[in-house]
């Protein structure tokens, strides 16, 4: 049996590794997406004052600390049985909307962009953000950095620090914002809406305007029929900060919605012997293996999942894009994984519009940004939508508020089973007997999971840096016959 090893994966946070096995005749046999075990974070958090945990959890990973801080803050509110005032909730969501704009922008221009603007088979040296901005224009590069700067500014104004916010405390926030700050936030948000619209137009022109890319998106190799989950508001519209988690089946029918404290009724975890990371699945459906379909409990939690699990977007411009998305792709739900990139940009527009809705609410500058907790702390669950999937924090404490148990289901972990399935299907479709296994081909295998925007740094509870890519191809006896390298 031959073995192809993609280790580790480029442009992906963490130390992922794909092992592709070929049979003696050179046909695809199987593949495994492996994640090394880097656990210990939950244990590290035990024995600490619970309000310290949202600060610690935003150190799990350098990619989405804002998401961990928010899920942690909501879990701590629940532990203390306290409901923050409306202003506090709005300020947190405002921070979170700005963070989403930064994160989704970075993913599109730095991770998805190279595949779609430069092309999946472009030379490695050009398949990066530098190549993208040279192709689409330097001024667009400037706008990308401007978007990031504005996002960071809002996070710093409300969260106290850039990137790693620290102002959420039980029952609300340590501070509010002034009218002067509000005006600045509003100005930046209006610019963000224009930037999001521009980015959607760019996607429309560059990707949807190219038949080759459209065929790639709609092709079978990147398609799976699974369940989808995502948080929705009381009107079943997408919401990143609060609401219930909606679950829909592969036909788009809603199985139900669960509140944060009901997550254990809905989500269970499957263990495989070849990886330490667990595979969450829908408990009510059951684990049937890495298979598509209504009888399989495999679900996906991504921007596309959020759109599939909701009835629409809560803001007008994003709603119009949502309608265009489904009418273009042939109705709801959409199962093509590469469409996640498009869904992500619709969410970018929603986040920018929501930024303005919140920044222009008369109560956003109110001094009523905290409810002092009075109840004895016990146990609580907080859920937010991290950019890369539903993020669940569950804390249990003693009566002094000292943590006795901490459990996290991070965004990417939700998608571990579908990523495994997508990687396998792409490899199976692309690697054929007698075919040449090139870097471009292997990049197309990588594209199968890059769409999920995975961040195994926090899925495995570590903060790694980028690692070089090395693909080792072995013959039936395990002897190395070729090595492909990039960034080495």
């Amino acid at each position: 049996m031959q073995r192809i090893s993609i280790d580790p994966i480029t442009r992906l946070e963490g130390h992922g590794k794909i092992e592709i096995f070929l049979d003696d005749e050179g046909n695809f046999a199987n593949s495994y997406f492996q994640i090394p075990e880097l656990r210990g974070f939950e244990r590290f958090c035990v024995g600490r004052q619970v309000e310290e945990v949202p600060i610690l959890t935003n150190r799990i990973c350098g990619v989405c600390p804002e998401a961990h801080h928010m899920a942690g803050a909501k879990a701590v509110d629940a532990v203390y049985h306290v409901d923050p005032p409306r202003t506090a909730k709005m300020l947190r969501e405002l921070l979170y909307s700005a963070f989403y704009c930064t994160d989704h922008t970075t993913h599109f221009y730095a991770l998805a962009g190279p595949d779609f603007v430069m092309g999946p088979t472009a030379p490695v040296a050009e398949r990066n953000i530098l190549g993208v901005i040279h192709k689409v224009g330097l001024e667009i590069g400037g706008q990308v950095l401007q978007m990031r700067k504005y996002g960071h500014s809002v996070v710093e104004m409300i969260g106290g620090r850039k990137v790693h916010p620290c102002t959420s405390i039980p029952g609300g926030l340590t501070k509010g914002i002034t009218e002067e700050q509000r005006q600045e936030i509003e100005k930046m948000g209006r610019w963000a809406i224009e930037f999001a619209q521009f980015t959607l137009k760019l996607f429309n022109d560059v990707v949807l305007g190219n038949k080759e890319y459209v065929d790639l998106i709609l092709g079978d190799i990147y398609t799976h029929h699974t369940y989808y989950i995502g948080t929705v508001d009381e009107n079943n519209k997408v919401n990143f900060y609060d609401g219930k988690v909606s679950v829909v089946d592969p036909e788009g029918k809603r199985l139900g919605k669960y509140a944060a404290n009901e997550y254990t009724d809905w989500i269970a975890e499957h263990v495989e012997p070849w990886t330490y990371l667990k595979f969450p699945y829908l408990k009510k459906v059951g684990w049937k293996g890495f298979v598509d379909g209504k009888d399989s409990g495999v679900y996906m939690a991504t921007p596309l999942s959020r759109l599939n699990a909701a009835d629409g977007m809560a803001t007008p411009l994003a709603q119009a894009e949502y309608e265009k998305f489904y009418s273009t792709l042939g109705g709801k739900p959409v199962h093509q994984r590469l469409a996640i990139h498009w869904a992500r940009l619709i969410e970018l527009l929603y986040a920018a519009e929501r930024w303005i809705e919140l920044a222009t609410d008369p109560e956003i500058t109110s001094d009523n940004y905290r409810t002092i907790p009075t109840a004895t702390p016990t146990e609580g669950v907080g859920i937010v939508e991290a950019p890369r999937g539903t993020l669940t924090h569950h804390y249990t404490t003693d009566e002094r508020g000292i943590t006795t148990k901490v459990n996290l289901i991070v965004g990417t972990t939700n998608n571990y089973a579908p990523i495994q399935m997508s990687t396998k299907k792409a490899a199976q479709s692309l690697i054929k007997k007698g075919g040449v296994i090139s870097e471009g081909l292997l990049n197309m295998v990588e594209m199968a999971f890059r769409a999920y925007d995975p961040c195994f740094g926090c899925a495995t509870h570590s903060l790694p840096g980028q690692m070089p890519l090395e693909i080792v191809i072995r013959d039936a006896n395990g002897k190395t016959v070729d090595i492909l390298k990039q960034y080495c």
Binding site: I9, T10, R11, L12, E13, G14, P36, L38, G40, F41, R43, F44, L56, R59, G62, V63, P65, T106, H107, A110, L111, N128, I129, L130, I133, H134, L138, G141, G142, L145, R148, K149, H152, V163, H164, C455, G457, H461, S462, L463, P464, G465, Q466, M467, P468, Y487, C488
Partner: protein
């Protein structure tokens, strides 16, 4: 020369926090030149490039695992001379490497340091959550602090003893 010193890494991930600890040591030194700023960061790629904007010089302190040097070994490189420029935390796989990000920034006309040094400490435990450094890495903290201090005042070498490029 406006200089930024960055302690890079994750302060709760064992030896990965060594950059922060060295930066904290430097922050305690009173005779630092007034144009020197010291920061602790847990970012990479574009975010790290953004942090360097408007500085003339930067020194990045990071944990590194090469398995090719004794634990606690200190190395000093120019960024462009790093054996693997995408090593350590200078890259964020979620966006791009620092080198590519610097090229992006330069293309867009950002004022970025022309001189970027990287001081690395060979580390051991970087995948287990802990606030403690392993003893050999902890022992490197004062040595690395002195090396960086030398780099900061290298235009006035009589003010501090010269340190070697590499020490075990």
């Amino acid at each position: 020369m406006k200089t930024l010193v960055v302690g890079l890494g994750n302060p709760i991930l064992g030896d990965d926090g060594v950059g922060w600890q060295i930066a904290h040591e430097l922050q305690q030194i009173k005779q630092l030149p007034s144009d020197v700023t010291i920061e602790c960061l847990a970012i990479g790629g574009i975010s790290l490039m953004e942090a360097l904007i408007n500085y003339d010089r930067a020194i990045i302190i990071d944990a590194i695992v090469t398995h090719q040097a004794p634990i606690g070994s200190i190395h000093h490189y120019k960024l462009e001379d790093l054996p693997n420029p995408s090593s350590g935390h200078m890259s964020s796989a979620h966006d791009t490497s620092l080198l590519t990000a610097l090229h992006v920034g330069q293309s867009l006309g950002a004022h970025l340091p022309k001189d970027i040094s990287v001081v690395t400490v060979e580390s051991q435990k970087v995948i287990e959550f802990s606030e403690l450094l392993t003893p050999a890495v902890a022992a490197a903290v004062p040595v690395a602090t002195r090396i960086i201090l030398d780099l900061l005042i290298e235009s006035n070498p009589e003010k501090a003893p010269k340190a070697d490029n590499m020490k075990n």
